[in-house]
């Protein structure tokens, strides 16, 4: 069923009784050309682009829980392309361009809102660093505007400009950045992949990867064995466990990142705002909740929940920056399991097993990368060649010492 404005109107007049389930619930077939392990944003996007860009149809996405039940449903929904390093810059630029055409591509409203991202800075040195980053973004063909203090004040009048400890010197404004409705991204890709014939198989956990003579032959699952010529691992925080089924040890450690949302408020925060002196970022959802987050808890975790010290730290950072949010009540907090790499950049690569591919290590920047990651991973799976914008996301770059350390914080999993 193709969505249109006319259809919404007609359904409204008919009491909305004509809507159908938007994807099938097929039984797994004994064999596919390509099996994708992981029905999150990246896995579903990979399936969609394999079908759309490469004309492939005999594909299954295996999801152990429900579609979009992992990090694509547990993030702070920020979409941006404000990277600095060659390797990252062109990838996120490409991903943002895909976002800009995504709703037409998917025939689905993902509520992509280019409300602008403003990264605040609080010292001369930080201004220089952001000016350089802004120039890198402009060189990449994206947009960046360096705001001074008064420029910031006109756009963000509610910040505490007069605090003495971390005064606000200005901000780097990225107008094409913004947010999207996170669940809708997963649902939109799922529906679009299903419409192109991809089998989305939920409640199907992979328990083993079959390899014969150095080549992948299929997977074992809780719903039986499935043969496949190519197998793709896209399982974010669970990458270590799934890769281990193929004897692969990854440069990944899973960490916990918390996020928070307040009760619904009248519109008051019009952009995505990040604090330069504490790890804090905030936007307001279309329902009115203030959605915000901070840093990792810093210890390895699979708990999908964090501890209170980081919750307190995030609230403190938020109140320091914008005291007006102090009266808002926090409705929920949650944690996502982040596949952290030692340089903070992701991996899209082949493995030592022929026909086995891996896409992981998105740390806590995976949401904005969903279209780009799916596109580049699909390109790699379909053609066995790296997609140019993602060509530096190599698995062996750590061994070779060619790190992509965007923040320059060093080779340790919890520092990014």
């Amino acid at each position: 069923m193709r969505y249109s404005g006319l259809q919404v109107l007609a359904q409204g007049l008919m009491g909305n009784r004509g809507w159908k389930p938007v994807w099938r619930d097929p039984e797994p077939k004994p064999a596919y050309d390509i099996v994708i392990i992981g029905g999150g944003g990246h896995g579903l996007a990979t399936a969609f682009y394999l079908a759309k860009e490469h004309g492939l149809g005999n594909i299954a996405v295996l999801e152990k829980g429900y579609l979009g039940g992992g990090n694509v449903g547990r993030n702070t929904t920020i979409v941006r392309a404000n990277y600095n390093l060659p390797g990252n810059s062109e990838f996120y630029s490409h991903s943002l361009k895909l976002w800009e055409g995504l709703e037409a591509d998917l025939n689905y409203n993902v509520m992509h809102s280019q409300r602008g991202v403003i990264n605040l800075f609080h010292s001369d040195g930080q201004r220089d660093a952001y000016a350089r980053r802004g120039n890198a973004m402009i060189n990449q063909g994206d947009d960046a505007i360096l705001l001074d203090r008064e420029g910031c004040r006109r756009m963000l009048p509610y910040l505490d400009y007069d605090q003495t400890r971390f005064p606000i010197y200005g901000g780097l404004y990225h107008p094409r950045g913004g947010t999207a409705r996170h669940d809708a991204v997963a649902w939109g890709y799922a529906r679009a992949a299903d419409r192109r014939g991809v089998d989305l198989i939920q409640q199907c956990e992979v328990t083993g990867i079959d390899i014969a003579g150095g080549k992948v032959t299929g997977v074992q699952t809780t719903r039986g064995a499935i043969r496949a010529a190519k197998v793709a691992i896209v399982v974010a925080g669970r990458s270590g466990q799934v890769a281990a089924m193929a004897g692969l040890r990854l440069p990944v450690e899973s960490h916990i990142l918390q996020a928070f949302v307040t009760e619904g408020l009248k519109p008051c925060i019009d952009h995505v705002v990040t604090y330069g002196m504490g790890h804090f970022y905030i936007s307001q959802s279309d329902k009115g909740g203030l959605v915000f987050g901070g840093d990792l808890d810093f210890y390895a975790s699979y708990a999908a929940r964090g501890n209170l010290p980081m919750a307190e730290h995030v609230m403190e950072a938020g109140l320091t920056l914008m005291p007006m949010i102090g009266k808002a009540r926090v409705l929920r907090s949650w944690g996502g399991i982040m596949d952290m790499t030692p340089d903070g950049s992701p991996i899209i690569d082949k493995t030592h097993v022929d026909g086995l591919y891996i896409d992981c290590g998105w740390c806590y920047g995976g949401f904005k990368a969903v279209p780009g990651s799916g596109f580049s991973f699909a390109h790699l799976i379909a053609t066995d060649r790296h997609h140019e914008p993602a060509a530096r996301f190599r698995l062996d770059r750590f061994r070779r010492g060619v790190l992509l350390d965007e923040e320059g914080t060093g080779s340790q999993h919890n520092l990014h």
């Binding site: 669970r238 990458s239 270590g240 466990q241 281990a244 040890r249 990854l250 440069p251 990944v252 450690e253 899973s254 810093f298 210890y299 390895a300 975790s301 699979y302 708990a303 501890n307 010290p309 790499t341 030692p342 750590f398 061994r399 070779r400 080779s411 340790q412 999993h413 919890n414």
Partner: protein, 92 residues
């Protein structure tokens, strides 16, 4: 999460900072080669369950600790002084 320091007793986790997996105790020789250093710096078993990590009691006795912990439940299972684990030969 609370951690029982062998020297200071049961303390708030905010008194400690984490270095990472106990892999960091097995520092390779400078000439051990690419694979050994890759293993030490980057590659991780990343267990969902019991793990062992190095924590530093910066707001307490300033000792390095080896903390056995469950990554799924956040339960702290056992805490030892690193000097007792390595026999005083802390390589890092």
């Amino acid at each position: 999460m609370r951690i029982t320091c062998p020297l200071c007793g049961d303390r708030d986790s905010r008194e400690f900072s984490i270095r990472g997996h106990e892999t960091y105790l097995d520092r390779p020789a400078p000439d051990a080669g690419e694979a050994a250093w890759d293993d030490y710096l980057h590659l991780r078993d990343n267990p969902a369950g019991e793990t062992a990590e190095l924590w530093y009691h910066g707001a307490g006795c300033a000792a390095w600790l080896r903390v056995r912990r469950n990554t799924v439940t956040h339960e702290v299972l056992k805490v030892d002084l690193v000097r007792d684990v390595t026999g005083g030969d802390h390589a890092d």
